[in-house]
């Protein structure tokens, strides 16, 4: 009877999870997704809790309460910190899988060695490797995103890095094979500790060579690993709900990784094993042309005379927390009957969809947010392209400069607009260390300064001049 209840609950929860993801296809229905997800989770937790094998309740209550105590504040972080939070939650997911895998192994070792079958043991090894490498890898990623002091922000590379990384993984897997073949020998536990240690190390090594601009891809890959570690847990515990929910998460991470890789014209292996830092500085773009700087008054005038303005936001907008000022600018312009669109590059920001969330937070209607493929055909009709803290996603070198690290990456055709206004914090090149010739084009005017301050000045200028127009 309890078995039937548990199975029925698992089927119901799976269905609810699938509906939850299905409703994410439109912002209008998306909030149902949370209701469905929470319901599925509730059903699953209660059905498991009331199984007769569960006899100790104190620790369960304690852990759940602790989860709320930590989880609620984590859900209230500012939206610019969402990438870190996401990475941190991948770390928690990996940790949970790794610990349950270890618990199952030691349980089998001390109580029922016969249950450590080759299949089960393989699943445990997969769960532990995936779980612990996701744990430390995601912690490192979160640390880099949060700009924690003792974690280097810049990609760290050294000769033979790929050999070392792959070597560590190969040794971990080889030890895994040994433990699968001899799960209960006198020395097996030590080999198992070795696997855990190598997985922990591999997670760290994997993220060290990753720079900020690769974070959207890396977070998506770690998302996938976290899902797969839940799948492996399902195999270990013979639990189909874990397998289905983990597979949904894994495939979500996979699709996002593919989209991010395509948006950077790079392969998975290239992201993970080809640190950007190594291919820098191969291109010098023709003769050095000079910037042309524009005043706030001049820029405001340009904007006022436009009929189509396309705003291209990048990570710089997030860093400057400029999204609310952008909304004020949006109001000023739309008030004048100017069409304002936001062109969103898939890898703008530090995680998939990052810009959309920031702009939505500032109450910009999502109908004004347009994808790169959709906006590009309209760019020649665009009067002013306003680039806010974006760099590589508008660099025309991506189209032709073969030696450039961003060669082949699809970009937003800002350079095809009639006029380009670019707000930039400093005169330094972007993360890839290459010059952006967009900034020295004949029709480009630069506004140097903090994005929030510059846009604030623009808004003031437009507000005070609105009577004249």
């Amino acid at each position: 009877m309890t078995y039937a209840v548990a199975q029925a609950a698992a089927i119901l929860a799976t269905a609810l999870f699938i509906f939850s993801l299905y409703w994410m296809n439109d912002p209008k229905t998306a909030r149902h997704a949370v209701v469905a997800g929470v319901s599925g989770m509730l059903v699953a937790v209660l059905a498991t809790w009331f199984q007769p094998e569960i006899v100790h309740h104190g620790w369960i209550v304690l852990a759940i309460v602790a989860g709320f105590v930590v989880g609620v504040p984590l859900s209230l972080v500012p939206l610019t910190a969402v990438p870190q939070r996401t990475a941190l939650s991948h770390a928690f997911g990996g940790l949970a899988a790794g610990l349950v895998g270890a618990a199952e192994y030691f349980l089998g070792l001390t109580e029922h060695p016969a249950q450590l079958t080759a299949f089960r043991m393989s699943a445990i090894v997969a769960e532990v490797i995936l779980g612990f490498l996701t744990f430390t890898g995601s912690l490192m990623a979160a640390g880099k995103l949060q700009e924690v002091k003792w974690i280097p922000q810049r990609p760290v590379t050294y000769p033979g890095q790929n050999v070392v990384n792959i070597g560590v993984l190969v040794v971990a897997v080889a030890l895994g094979v040994v433990v699968v073949m001899h799960p209960a020998a006198a020395w097996s536990a030590r080999v198992f500790y070795g696997i855990v240690g190598l997985a922990v190390l591999f997670g760290v090594l994997l993220i060290i060579p990753i720079g900020g601009a690769d974070m959207p891809t890396v977070i998506s890959i770690l998302n996938s690993y976290a899902g797969l570690s839940a799948v492996a847990m399902g195999f270990v515990l013979n639990n189909k709900l874990l397998v289905t929910a983990g597979a949904l998460d894994g495939s979500s991470g996979l699709i996002l990784s593919i989209i991010m890789c395509r948006a950077m014209n790079r392969s998975f292996t290239n992201v993970l094993f080809g640190a950007f830092g190594t291919v820098q500085k191969t291109v010098a773009v023709g003769e050095q042309k000079a910037w042309k700087q524009e005043t706030v008054e001049g820029a405001a005038q340009l904007l006022e005379q436009a009929s189509l303005v396309v705003v291209i936001p990048g990570y710089g907008m997030a860093v400057a927390q400029a999204q609310h000022k952008v909304r004020e600018l949006y109001d000023q312009l739309t008030k004048r009957g100017i069409t304002v669109k936001f062109a969103i590059h898939p890898v703008a920001g530090r995680m998939p969809g990052h810009m959309n969330v920031l702009l939505a937070e500032a109450n910009i209607p999502y109908t004004a947010l347009v994808e790169m493929e959709e906006i590009n055909p309209d760019m020649p009709q665009c009067d002013v392209a306003l680039v806010i803290g974006a760099n590589d996603v508008v660099n025309p070198a991506a189209r032709y400069a073969k030696g450039s690290p961003i060669y082949g990456m699809p970009i937003i055709d800002a350079d095809k607009a009639k006029t380009v206004l670019a707000i930039k914090r400093s005169k330094n090149p972007g993360f890839a260390g290459i010059d952006n010739e967009l900034y020295v084009q004949d029709n480009t005017w630069m506004l140097f300064g903090d994005a929030k301050a510059v846009i604030g000045d623009l808004v003031k200028q437009l507000a005070s001049g609105s009577g004249i127009h």
Binding site: S20, N25, P27, A30, A33, V34, G37, M41, A44, T48, E53, I54, V55, W59, I60, G67, G71, V72, L74, S75, L76, V82, R85, S89, F92, G93, A96, L99, V100, A103, T117, F119, A185, I219, S220, N223, A226, A230, V231, M233, G234, L237, K240, L242, A245, G246, A247, L248, D249, G250, S252, L256, G353, N356, V357, A360, E361, N363, P365, L369
Partner: protein
């Protein structure tokens, strides 16, 4: 070779059908996942990630089983930590997803 004997014994004890059905479920669920996720609005990739995070914290089910059963204390401690980690993901994942989705307005 005691180890060898053990492997032979345990191998014989495996009910092979079960594992195949698990793999079957995994493959089907992956295809459903790919089909459903492909249709997710591009606007919503950030909330999608926090939502799938919360959903994959279904690991909570395994953690409860390890924490609450009649097992040695050391093993239950591991389960308890895993349960705490999963629960944190469930709570923060669903809450922040809803918080973000609330912000997406048409006008």
């Amino acid at each position: 070779m005691i180890d060898g004997l053990l492997t032979v014994q345990t191998a014989a004890a495996e009910p092979a059908g079960d594992y195949w059905s698990m793999l079957f479920v995994f493959v089907l669920a992956t295809f459903i996942g790919l089909g459903v996720i492909r249709r997710v609005s591009r606007l919503l990739y950030t909330p999608l990630m926090s939502l799938t995070n919360a959903i994959s914290a279904i690991a909570v089910v395994g953690s409860i089983a390890v924490t609450g059963a009649e097992y040695p204390a050391a093993i239950r401690v591991l389960g308890g930590i895993a349960l705490f980690a999963s629960m944190t993901n469930i709570v923060s994942g669903f809450l922040i997803t809803d918080r973000m989705l609330k912000m997406f307005k048409k006008q």
